[in-house]
Amino acid sequence: MRILIVEDEPDLLSGLAQALREEGYAVDTANDGEDGFYKAENYEYDAIVLDVMLPKLDGWQILGRLRKIKKTPVLMLTARDQSRDRVRGLDTGADDYVVKPFDLPELFARLRALIRRSKNKGTNVFQIGEVKIDMAARNVFLKGAPIELTAREYSLVEFLALHCGEVVTRTQLYEHLFDENDDTFSNLLDVHVSNVRKKLGADFIVTRRGHGYSIE
């Protein structure tokens, strides 16, 4: 999953980005409104964490413009907690609204819920064949036994599971599993796919030659 954080307070931005990366997300950052909108417009994100008070272009404006072209889930982050601010946020097109200071675990849970909703999956727990994926706990079980996955491997599994039944192209995987800070090596993706297959079974991930991958 690839997340964009738009926040102008540098310590908060860096802290949040680090926390999300450690959770296994690919994270892009922007510290002003223009840069944030540019990135949101031009890249595919699974979710955007958007602060309201930004220099150059504020959160409301970004949201307004973005909604005309994309349905990316947006979680608004702000110090304004009046009901009318929440209403405005939600009505302008935000999918959730979190007030600072926030509890990190809660933020993570809300992000997960956002992403889950946007992929139309109602539950956190997926059973695919003998593999069980618990997205809340970020655990994967094979035949009941917990399996160790690296963050990237888990992200891959999670992404494919959320698109269960669909074919996911390599490009999509690149866009959603890697962030601007990663070097783009095609091979890396193959390595991850191969590792997951080793851990969860060779036919867990199905290759569609010329199209991409999928989980059935």
Partner: protein, 490 residues
């Protein structure tokens, strides 16, 4: 409400009293006029009859000529003066004049004529009855002829009050006394009638008047009640209420307008306070958020010393921001409450400026900004510490919003009895829409927080300057720098 305190009732009582006085005066006048009219008429009748009797006593000599009582002759008394006496009872009223003394006529005119010796010469048929009725009578007299002795059997004590009869009595120059009298009972009845009607009408008018007055004073008072009801609603907490001025015009309209503007000021002051408190809390959220997120992230797994160090430094930065914010807020709160009376000591503003300039020089040097201070000695009275806060604030703003390599100029001079301080910079200036608001609390031209500035510096400066009785203003054009001018009483 106590009857005497209520304006409505007082108005009513006064109004009622005045109306009553007016009505009584009117009524009295009307009665008096009518009395005059009636009595004049009666007196005219009496006079007529008197002339008739006088004529009958001493008929005009045929062919004209003077009669003995027509007044003194131009050349002394005539030879046959005085004329011969009549005999007692010898007077007869000519028949054509009998109608004048008709006993059936309601006035009961009567006459009595006395000779020179006081003996009765003649009287009308009803004279005895009239005279014996012992009613009090008002006697009208001619100036130069006081009545003669009244015969015993006729007692007619004149009295002024409750007269029911009127008598005209005159002594003729020939010596006879002629009494002509009548009963004025018809007149008295008429007067009484009139008085009843007047009193009745007066009471009805008074009642209507009181009712009308009550209605008018109610209407006049209603706007006041309106105003007080609105004021009650406002003091109960709803500051958005206003008095409906359309209902209260004229003098009360002015009162309503003044009250409305007071309420508006109150409301805006409260709103400002609320806004201030909410902005203050708001400003603290982000630094707290930083600390929380950094701490939670750092504690999520094992870290090495370098990571912990970074986290702790970030927390420190946030905590410093909060510290500055808190002390700025406290300062503002103290200035607002006027708790600390300002120190009023004499000090050299020029020296203070020099010190502040030195204080911020490192900041300026970092950005290659030149600072020039024309700080001649200038004695003023005030709180040196607080005013140096103001100077420092203006200087740091001038540096912060400046371009690299720009310039900051500080100057002082005296104008009348004011010390004037100007701080100008060559920075990016202030856009016109922000210009009137720069001194507001938490107002930042660039609405984000990234500059680390909470937007309180100018607000505090303004509060300090105002507490000294001075003024602070700004002139600026976008992209063309800004000039802040502080005027302080010396």
């Amino acid at each position: 409400m106590n009857l005497f305190k209520s304006i409505k009732w007082r108005l009513q009582i006064w109004y009622g009293l005045i109306l009553m006085v007016v009505l009584v005066a009117l009524g009295y006048t009307a009665c008096a006029l009518q009395r005059n009219l009636l009595f004049n008429r009666v007196d005219g009748e009496l006079q007529r009859r008197f002339s008739v009797l006088a004529d009958a006593l001493h008929p005009h000599p045929p062919g004209g000529g003077r009669r003995p009582f027509d007044g003194p002759p131009p050349d002394g008394m005539p030879d046959d003066f005085p004329p011969p006496d009549h005999e007692p009872g010898g007077f007869e009223l000519p028949p054509q004049d009998e109608a004048l003394f008709d006993p059936n006529e309601p006035h009961h005119f009567y006459f009595v004529i006395l000779g020179r010796d006081g003996k009765e010469i003649g009287s009308s048929t009803n004279a005895d009855a009239a005279l014996n009725s012992k009613v009090s009578t008002e006697v009208l007299e001619q100036e130069n002829a006081p009545p003669r002795i009244i015969p015993d059997r006729r007692s007619m004590p004149p009295s002024f009050y409750s007269n029911q009869g009127r008598v005209l009595a005159r002594v003729l120059p020939s010596g006879e006394t002629v009494w002509v009298g009548c009963s004025i009972v018809p007149e008295l009845n008429a007067l009484q009638n009139t008085m009843f009607w007047l009193v009745g009408a007066g009471m009805i008018i008074l009642l209507f008047g009181l009712a009308g007055g009550w209605w008018i004073s109610s209407r006049a008072i209603r706007p006041v009640e309106n105003i007080s009801a609105t004021a009650v609603r406002i003091s109960a907490g709803d500051l958005s209420q206003r008095i409906n001025v359309a209902e209260t015009e004229s003098e009360l309209g002015r009162l309503a307008a003044v009250l409305n503007s007071t309420f508006a000021r109150l409301e805006s002051a409260f709103a400002q306070q609320k806004q201030f408190a909410s902005d203050a809390a708001h400003e603290l959220r982000t630094p707290v958020s930083v600390i929380l997120t950094q701490a939670q992230t750092a504690l999520a797994r094992e870290r090495d010393a370098k990571d912990y160090r970074q986290t702790v430094e970030a927390c420190q930065r946030a905590a410093q921001r909060m510290r500055k914010l808190i002390s700025a807020l406290l300062e503002l709160a103290r200035l607002d409450a006027g708790q600390e009376p300002l120190k009023r000591l004499s000090f050299d503003l020029g020296k203070t400026i020099t010190e502040c300039v030195e204080l911020v020089r490192p900041l300026a040097d970092e950005r290659g900004i030149r600072m020039s201070a024309d700080a001649a000695p200038l004695e003023i009275t005030g709180d040196a510490e607080k005013l140096s806060l103001v100077v420092t604030n203006l200087l740091t703003n001038a540096i912060e919003y400046n371009h690299d390599g720009g310039e900051v100029k500080v100057a002082t001079h005296r104008e009348d009895n004011m010390a004037v301080l100007t701080v100008s910079d060559t920075g990016r200036g202030i856009p016109p829409e922000d210009l009137p608001r720069v001194f507001e609390r938490f107002y930042r031209a660039d609405r984000s927080r990234s500059s680390g500035n909470a937007g309180l510096g100018l607000a505090i400066s303004k509060a300090i300057v105002s507490a000294h009785g001075g003024t602070i203003e700004v002139a600026s054009e976008e992209h063309a720098g800004a000039v802040f001018t502080v005027r302080l009483p010396v």
